[in-house]
């Protein structure tokens, strides 16, 4: 692991920084409750679609503060949802303010947050949505769903892909033909259509945990086939190697050979393939939630936050900040792509 990171840093700086960015993203998702200034379900109806809170250093009378502050904003024109700042009193941004009780990592109870301002002012870094909820807090909460689904989905697909690809490639013959026909059947449909059809097999109303599991099941069902084919290809070439013959001649069983000798040798390729396929899961979840078929309100995910913009031109043009979650999807996908590319570079024996 250390060796891989070192080589990544030397060969491909971009991939290395992407890796660091991903770690930061995952950490913020883990500590979302603490970092987000407000609970993600907190509604402030009087702040519906209020723009991102501006952070000032200089008051209108020219007085400069080293400590950033915000102004309270109020609705000036309810028809167009125009907000103006009340410049009479600055509200300083506090570090570790106290708020409603919550639990860090689910078990450390605390009432402190990372940043905040005293009410009635609010600190809405990315603005508010229709119900006046803080988009920044919702993005952090949504990151938990969007980022974890990628990892869990890819692990399940991988398990299936390794198992089926390994068996198929190692035993060959009729079994191989049958299993490969099976993968073809999954791959014969365009992914999005298959995803919608599979969604139709589940009830429309599910609890949030059930929806989460459902999305993972759907995405893994679509994803395992291509991985199984890649792994089968590698196993086919590996099983002819001398060391496999050696293992067999000392009496190792087929499954032992597959699990202990063949699959570990495909690891560098499979890790690369996994990294490059995670974006597909993140995008799949986002697309489902975006269309209202995935994560439901009031739960947040990057996809369902964008749903506010669908089919509502008014919102897209006037309250552009509702698109911020899409930007997060974009950079996450890009980071995974860069990292995957970098891994491919260093694992490819041709380039050593």
């Amino acid at each position: 692991m250390k060796e891989v990171l070192r080589r990544l840093k030397g060969r491909n700086k971009l991939a290395y920084y992407s890796f660091i960015l991903l770690i930061i993203l995952y950490l913020t998702a883990v500590f979302a409750d603490f970092i987000s200034p407000y609970p993600y379900t907190l509604q402030n109806r009087h702040l519906s679609y209020s723009p991102p809170t501006r952070i000032h250093f200089k008051e209108t009378n020219g007085k400069f503060h080293l400590r950033p502050f915000v102004y309270q904003s109020y609705l000036k024109n309810p028809v167009h949802r125009e907000y103006v700042e009340d410049k009479s009193k600055p509200y300083f941004i506090h570090l570790f303010p106290r708020g409603p009780e919550h639990k860090i990592l689910g078990f450390i109870p605390t009432n402190q947050y990372l940043l905040g301002v005293k009410p009635p002012a609010v600190l809405y870094l990315f603005g508010a949505d229709l119900y006046g909820r803080d988009i920044f807090s919702r993005i952090l909460q949504g990151a938990r769903v969007s980022l974890s689904i990628g990892l869990i989905g890819v692990s399940i697909s991988f398990f299936l892909g390794l198992l089926i690809g390994g068996i198929s490639g190692y035993f060959g013959g009729k079994l191989d033909t049958f299993l490969m026909r099976l993968t073809e059947l999954v791959m014969v449909f365009p992914g999005f259509y298959l995803m919608l059809a599979l969604r139709a097999t589940f009830p429309t109303t599910l609890s949030s945990i059930q929806v989460y599991l459902m999305i993972i099941i759907i995405l893994s069902f679509i994803g395992w086939a291509s991985l199984a084919r890649i792994i089968r290809g590698m196993v086919l070439s590996l099983r002819e190697e001398d060391y496999i013959l050696a293992a067999r001649s000392v009496g190792a069983g087929s499954f032992r050979i597959i699990l202990r000798h063949i699959l570990p040798n495909t690891l560098s390729y499979t890790i690369t393939a996994a990294t490059l396929s995670i974006p597909g899961y993140i995008l799949g979840e986002s697309a489902l939630s975006l269309l209202g078929l995935g994560i439901q309100e009031p739960q947040s995910s990057w996809g369902n936050m964008l749903a506010a913009a669908i089919g509502n031109l008014q919102v897209v043009t006037h309250f552009t900040w509702v698109l911020v979650p899409g930007f997060f999807i974009f950079i996450t996908v890009m980071a995974f792509n860069f990292l995957g590319d970098g891994l491919r570079d260093i694992f490819d024996p041709k380039t050593w």
Binding site: E184, V188, P190, Y193, L196, A197, T201, A309, T317, M334
Partner: protein
């Protein structure tokens, strides 16, 4: 040595490819049917909740659609009907599915084909250009752009461009034609359609050009260093001829193979963009059908989506056989 006539070889190759499709298509119908059978309830369960509808009417409707028969009977009945292009009746619109789906498929095809053509026209020359300028600023910039294109989610880009075009008013949003379409001249009609096509095409071309560009660039670089290039140069061919006659032809072939793989992603992307930019295509139809549990429409959309993919792959294989004689002899 006797060599068969090339055109016969080609026909034989196409024939074999077609035969290969049969089990795939049978499997496809089976899977489509199975998936939809797994769906909880059907359209009538929802209808049954409506107290204004007589249960006897529902029972009669169920019988009409053969929903009260065993699964296997339903399946064969469905396949038999499909062979006669009868996809059943939409529960929501009360007209045969084929009438709804025909226009939608056409719209999806128009969008996909224009995206495909534009993507190729853009990424192949740019790939060559970048490969010739390897590691110099133009290559760096293009490769960076390609990476952005690969990574940006199509739905996000669609929303961004939607926002842009709503603000600038450059492109119409949604639909295939404007409201006053019928009064336009023939040329005006064509122009109107193209105008509506621009936005969704733009989104999809940006999203799909990156992949093709990177492969083209990679292939070209590989072939640039291939051993056959040296003798070509040594016998005094101009650099232009070396590049366009030798290297280009060799680096395009793998691209055609990739075409088949990319198609699945393209169709998925088209479906999503259709939904966001209100382009009345197959993807949009399927979403509506899933939401209203309109069974026959869902099945038909899934099936037609699969058929589009299979046909695309078939075209790719045939093109490849034309471009690369080695394949025909296999």
């Amino acid at each position: 040595m006797w060599r068969p006539d090339p055109s016969i070889l080609m026909l034989r190759y196409i024939y074999r490819r077609l035969l290969h499709l049969i089990p795939l298509i049978i499997g496809m119908t089976f899977i489509s049917f199975l998936i939809i059978q797994l769906a909880p309830g059907d359209y009538f369960t929802r209808m049954a909740m409506n107290p204004e509808i007589n249960p006897a009417t529902i029972a009669q409707l169920r019988q009409e659609f053969a929903l009260d028969r065993p699964l296997i009977v339903q399946y064969f009945r469905w396949v038999f009907n499909i062979c006669h292009l009868n996809f059943g009746v939409s529960f929501t619109y009360h007209i045969p599915v084929i009438f709804i789906i025909k226009g939608r498929v056409l719209n999806t095809l128009v969008l996909s084909v224009s995206v495909m053509i534009l993507t190729w026209l853009i990424s192949v020359p740019l790939g060559i250009f970048a490969a010739l300028k390897e590691n110099r600023p133009p290559d760096r910039i293009l490769s960076g752009l390609a990476f952005v294109g690969i990574s940006i989610p199509s739905f996000f880009l669609a929303l961004l461009l939607l926002c842009f075009s709503a603000k600038s008013g450059w492109f119409p949003i949604g639909g295939v034609t404007s409201i006053g379409y019928e009064e336009l001249s023939a040329l005006g009609k064509f122009g109107d359609r193209i105008h509506h096509l621009v936005l969704p095409t733009l989104v999809l071309v940006i999203c799909s050009f990156g992949g093709l560009f990177r492969i083209m660039r990679g292939n070209f670089l590989e072939n640039l260093r291939a051993p056959y290039v040296t003798p070509a140069r040594a016998k005094g061919l101009s650099e232009k001829k070396v590049i366009y006659k030798h290297i280009l032809r060799n680096s395009i072939n793998p691209l055609i193979t990739i075409f088949g793989y990319e198609l699945s992603g393209l169709l998925s992307g088209v479906a999503l963009v259709e939904i966001i930019l209100s382009w009345p295509g197959l993807g949009r139809l399927m979403l509506e059908a899933v939401m209203t549990q309109d069974l026959y429409v869902v099945m038909a959309s899934l099936l037609v989506g699969g058929v589009l993919l299979i046909l695309g792959n078939l075209v790719a294989d045939i093109l490849l056989a034309f471009a690369d004689p080695r394949i025909r002899y296999r």
